[in-house]
């Protein structure tokens, strides 16, 4: 890292966290982010468990770091992230990060992910998971999704399905996200590429647990994404 991320930079960074039924996992994630001095916009995606109460419990500890919004219906990770991206604008952030709230991503990586933005080398960053760290089933699904992202959106990235991404305020205003579900990962990359926003890949660590394994890009989700990509390509 050539540039030192200061406390001021961290304070100007807002982390968008979409959360759906994460009552058992979200608290350590939020508190680790708050401890490091970042701000957060958390979107409860119509959870049917106690996610909202758990987030409020953390908000009591860090009232100024956490901004909480709640979707009255579960609308999917895409809509929740879109809501976060829109809500975050009123706080005038310099940098906006979005990451998973299930503990799959580590708050330790935040600094590395925003560093290219802070130093001015890039205006968008995607946090890529090393393929070798992924379980085999995921590995294959991700390779297929990378290939499809390349074919449909014309962007070659090493991890198209990552939920860890960062973008500057100005660049965020240029992109439009319409995806409702997991297509958001590929769509973010397409939007960044189409708007000529300089971007970088940063290697991040991924923590796979049996719980996080059950979420994310499995073959059913992959098929859904494929269908949505084709629809985008044909009708948008």
């Amino acid at each position: 890292m050539d540039y030192k991320v200061t406390a001021e930079d961290k304070n100007a960074t807002y982390v968008v966290l979409p959360a759906y039924n994460e009552e058992t996992r979200i608290q350590p994630v939020i508190e680790a982010i708050a401890e490091k001095g970042y701000n957060m916009v958390i979107i409860n995606d119509g959870s049917s468990d106690n996610t909202l109460d758990v987030i409020l419990e953390s908000k009591r500890k860090y009232p100024n770091r956490i901004h909480l919004y709640s979707l009255i219906l579960n609308r999917g990770v895409g809509v929740a992230t879109q809501t976060g991206f829109e809500a975050v604008l009123k706080f005038n952030p310099k940098y906006v990060v979005s990451m998973d709230s299930d503990g799959q991503h580590s708050a330790d990586d935040l600094e590395a992910v925003i560093e290219p933005l802070v130093s001015g080398r890039a205006q968008a960053v995607i946090g890529v998971r090393p393929l070798k760290d992924m379980p085999k089933s995921r590995n294959f699904a991700n390779a297929v999704m990378n290939f499809l992202t390349k074919i449909f959106y014309g962007v070659d990235v090493s991890d198209s399905q990552t939920g860890f991404r960062a973008i500057t305020f100005d660049a965020l205003n240029k992109i439009t996200i319409n995806a409702r579900g997991y297509l958001i990962s590929s769509e973010f990359i397409r939007e960044v590429n189409d708007n000529d926003i300089p971007f970088e890949e940063v290697t991040i660590q991924t923590i796979y647990t049996p719980e996080t394994q059950s979420k994310g890009t499995n073959s059913k989700v992959a098929l859904k994404i494929l269908f949505q990509m084709m629809k985008h390509k044909l009708f948008d």
Binding site: I43, R60, L68, Y69, S70, V79, A87
Partner: protein
């Protein structure tokens, strides 16, 4: 007379009446009501005079009248399926917009929670 040549016209007339009431209550546009009425009128004609479908079949190069009716029905169903899909898609977009709007304009503060 075969059963279908009595049953289908009755069903078609009921359908036209239902569509007419939907049109009158503003749930159906005049053009949709018109198109649907034509479809139902054809159902009546084909049921009472099955051989008349041959005339249309020949225009499209189809040998049997019944084949023409089946193909038309399949095309119509496919069209309806696609139309419904787009309508549903648009509705979902609208729901998302509303849910998003409601969430963004109601930031949850700790005071809200204590008021509960």
């Amino acid at each position: 007379m075969l059963i279908y040549s009595i049953l289908f016209p009755i069903l078609a007339i009921i359908a036209i009446i239902v569509f007419f009431f939907r049109f009158r209550s503003g749930k159906l546009s005049l053009s949709s009501f018109f198109i649907w009425s034509i479809i139902w009128i054809f159902v009546i004609i084909f049921s009472i005079f099955p051989d008349s479908s041959m005339v249309f079949a020949r225009v499209f190069g189809i040998t049997r009248g019944l084949d023409f009716i089946i193909i038309t029905a399949v095309v119509l169903l496919f069209y309806l399926g696609v139309k419904l899909y787009y309508k549903l898609d648009k509705l979902e977009d609208d729901v998302n917009k509303i849910v998003k709007e409601v969430a963004i304009s109601n930031e949850i503060s700790l005071d809200d929670e204590e008021e509960k």
